[in-house]
Subunit: 309 residues, 2 copies
């Protein structure tokens, strides 16, 4: 399997359009230690010609422009190597890219029933012609063959499983407990190559690591995991927000209650942070936090990163 | 008034994500004659510190990254020079950028009641906090002071007027005449500097030039006009679509029924094509069509173009 990181940043990207926090200031000023990043999404292919996007970020057009593998491969007419989009939730930074996938292109969308309902209710997504773009249901805790628009397998399966999280910001209901979130509003994905059984996990949003999720990940070859913040109160401390990481539905990396500590006993061969918020000090190339993460066996993903499994 | 062209291309940009037409092929291959373009939008400022976007394209994040005037001007915290967004219709290439304007930023949206209704009905736009982002109604054929989030004038007015057009693709109702389009689904904008009375027009979509629209434009200092295609059947001839320009709600440039001929008698001082489709031969730097357009007194806009009025 080949994996391409289209974007490594959390919602809003890095730098964020209206942010002047210390990290963003460095990026706006072109400091080479603060490399700009687009919003999180990865692409996976088994056959090297048909690709699945895991989430479709608002920056998708820009991401395709940088990655020849995702550009039309024909001479003349319409073509795209992108055969399907698999969604982990309904966040705008995960679904907005669908609005850039118009122009009479056949592909499939795999998502939970809750996300499907959200797409169905928002007519703006009708810009994707329903005769060409099929919305397939991804049952929770079940394994599904990933299919292209012709119903042919891409050569791998997806298993979607519940992770602690929060409903998408734009779907929050402040009158309800937990903002109206229910189980399955955020899922993790396990991608398994059919011919070899090799697999990896993609979990860009995850608020905690309960025993049942940890058990799934134990001994895995490769995990892309939620790297939103370094500390829980980072957005408050950098003066750009009032919300903690927990309030936004994300684990933080550092300390005894952070994701790095939670992963330590799991024996995972390759651990890569993705969905990294603009405020996170690991974004800065020479930061002590980035060195700490490396020392703990974590890689920090970046736009254009390639992983072979 | 200062005007910045954020993007010059029609919906989908140039090259388009799934297009291999001769123009896009050149752009994918990096031919310097085929300069890539983001999707159409311009920014206007009178005071040089607060800017109005005319439409918010899906490429807005990328466009801000290229234009320092639109980046945060403070050290620390949140800030954006973008004070308002004025919409000409509900096309995804004109409204999707709103989804990138999150993160607790106050600004205003000026749009027609029809577009406002479409935004209101699509909950995904609730990602813009209603307590910070006010949706203001732009009455047809009327002149309105353009206001920022504090209710302060940006120093210019906007007059929105009906132009022949078509309802946004995703709002089309195939059971109705004209796909359910009604008057005002597409508008042209006249921007007038309050202190000097200087004005220009922004008309990125326009299906024909009836006498009443022509009369408004007569003798204008500056008009940005719909440059979608060179010929009516261009998408068909380039093998990438079945729709004519007319079907998509756009005039074409060339020939006795084209926009250049229609504009000839109007005595407009500066004429600039914008919203240029990927198939249009004027996108190619050394094309005979671009030379023809120049010879007829038209400029072809490009990303980053600056105009002072």
């Amino acid at each position: 399997m080949k994996i391409l990181v289209l974007g490594a940043a959390a919602g809003g990207g890095f730098p964020q359009w209206n942010c002047s926090c210390p990290n963003c200031r460095m990026a706006w000023e072109g400091d080479p230690r603060a490399r700009p990043l687009t919003q999180s999404s990865i692409a996976v292919s088994v056959d090297g010609t048909r690709w699945a996007l895991l989430n479709a970020s608002p920056d998708l057009r820009q991401q395709i422009a940088r990655l020849p593998a995702l550009q039309p491969q024909t001479i003349g007419g319409r073509h795209s190597p992108i055969a399907t989009v698999i969604l982990t939730n309904g966040d705008v930074d995960h679904i907005t890219g669908l609005l850039s996938m118009r122009e009479m292109q056949a592909f499939t969308i795999h998502c939970s029933d809750r996300v499907k309902l959200a797409l169905d209710k928002n007519a703006v997504f009708n810009v994707l012609n329903a005769q060409l773009v099929t919305r397939r249901s991804l049952p929770l805790n079940d394994t599904t063959d990933v299919l292209d628009a012709d119903g042919a397998s891409l050569g791998f399966t997806v298993t979607s499983f519940v992770v602690p999280g929060k409903i998408a910001l734009w779907l929050e209901d402040l009158t309800k407990a937990d903002f109206g979130s229910i189980e399955g509003d955020t899922v993790g994905l396990k991608i398994t190559e059919t011919s070899t059984g090799k697999s990896f996990f993609y979990i860009p949003g995850c608020a905690a690591l309960p025993a049942e999720v940890a058990a799934r990940l134990e001994g895995a070859d490769l995990v892309f995991f939620d790297g939103t913040t370094w500390t829980d109160d980072e957005m408050i401390n950098t003066g750009v927000g009032a919300k903690t990481a927990s309030r936004m539905g994300h684990m933080w990396m550092s300390g005894p209650d952070g994701s790095m500590a939670a992963f330590d006993p799991l024996g995972i061969k390759r651990k890569i942070f993705i969905h990294i918020n603009n405020t996170n000090p690991v974004l800065i190339a020479d930061s002590s936090q980035r060195k700490d993460a490396w020392a703990r066996g974590w890689e920090i993903s970046y736009d254009g990163m390639e992983v072979i499994l």
